[in-house]
Subunit: 247 residues, 2 copies
């Protein structure tokens, strides 16, 4: 008989899972949720500690080798932050995001107040595509464990480490050049630099903070040819990462 026989999600669990949409509850419980098949499978394949998997009947064959609980599609919709999640959801233990030790990566991406969790997740996905290992986030950035960030990362949350800190002292002691990506500056497509460097991306509404601006060696810009007022910060980061990999 299967180990999963009769393991069914109960009402109090659903309420608990819903409570984890809020950061204060994620911090208190040290848990986060992962939604949708792709993200849950990546979670199972990572070094995160998985606490529980909830699957609808239709998807349980993906979880034959592990313990899971059955959930109805209606219950899943009720607790999901995604409008179209018909498959599964998992509960996992948060990792400590403050334990950064200099990894001596050649290029370091620093996010200064990226407040939209969707943008954060999209940046995490791009970092993973372009072979980066980690990202430095100011404490004013969206939470790495926000369900929208986790979802938008399309599984890349399982491979990219995000470290949260006060980025001013980090950059003050950074051993390498520091550049900002901004609406004005040296054209990115002409930029080449073999030195170790950090690249700062500023917030969606305010750009790079003044306390950081004074630390920059130079500003780089993605040259505008048309009339759009700005590029989305996740788009800009993608282009930066592509450029850094192309020389």
């Amino acid at each position: 008989m299967s180990q999963n026989k009769n393991r069914i999600a109960v009402k109090s669990e659903l309420k608990f899972i819903k409570s984890l949409k809020l950061k204060k509850n994620r911090v208190k419980e040290n848990m986060f949720i992962v939604e949708g098949l792709k993200n849950v499978l990546e979670l199972l394949n990572s070094d995160f500690k998985v606490l529980e998997v909830y699957s609808t009947d239709e998807y349980t064959h993906y979880f034959k080798k592990i313990s899971y609980k059955v959930i109805s599609p209606a219950q899943l919709t009720q607790i999901s932050t995604l409008s179209n999640n018909q498959s599964c959801l998992a509960l996992a233990r948060c990792k400590d995001l403050s334990s950064y030790e200099d990894s001596l990566d050649h290029w370091t991406i620093v996010l200064d107040g990226i407040s939209d969790p969707g943008n954060l997740g999209t940046i995490i996905r791009a970092l993973d595509w372009f072979g980066f290992n980690y990202v430095i986030c100011s404490n004013s950035c969206a939470d790495f464990y926000n369900p929208k960030a986790i979802s938008a990362s399309m599984g890349s949350f399982a491979r990219i480490n995000a470290f949260y800190m006060d980025i001013v002292p980090f950059l003050k002691t950074f051993e390498g050049d520091i550049y900002g990506l901004d609406l004005e500056g040296q054209p990115l497509d002409k930029f080449k630099n073999a030195n170790r460097a950090a690249f700062v991306l500023g917030s969606e509404s305010h750009g790079i903070s003044d306390a950081i601006k004074v630390l920059l060696k130079d500003n780089l810009t993605i040259k505008k040819y048309g009339q759009a007022e700005s590029l989305n910060v996740a788009m800009a980061t993608n282009i930066l990462l592509y450029h850094l990999r192309s020389f």
Copy 2:
């Protein structure tokens, strides 16, 4: 006395506006909605015919020179597709999206089944940033007038023309080289071509259709250095446009 005195949104109008979330109603009425201050201001600055502007009290000073109706924040939330729209919404007349005549643009971006309206809007924004004038969409693409596409374009919907058509005959008679952007192919960062060309982006889930694949001169790829399974199609398009502008 202001021409806007006593012009207040009534219940039947709100119901009508809500109905325009559905494509069939937009097609029937030949109208679409534009949400949020940035997008509404861009609309007013465009050649779209504006039928009505609904503004909350706090934002009416943006609309002093035009006719508008006052709407309460609660009513606006009720009819908005955006969760955080506190400002305004406008109703506008759709333009015909099938009247493409070859504009002889040097590069033509062709979308083959981009079904997510957020991705479509983000691509429209990027086209505007990089100075493109139009985009060719397969009939299977998300609707240009979908509120999520309009919102994600951040005003660029007002400047970029999207033409919907059967893209197979379009590409068969296209006078120039045709490339696809795919997970495998010639590295994009080495690609240079001075000829007139079309670039096809495939759908989020199925990639480029088989009927199109046989028309391609070559596939281009954004080289992967890490482990993410894919790049979001809007990200990939951004990188393609950046690259096309950098040589």
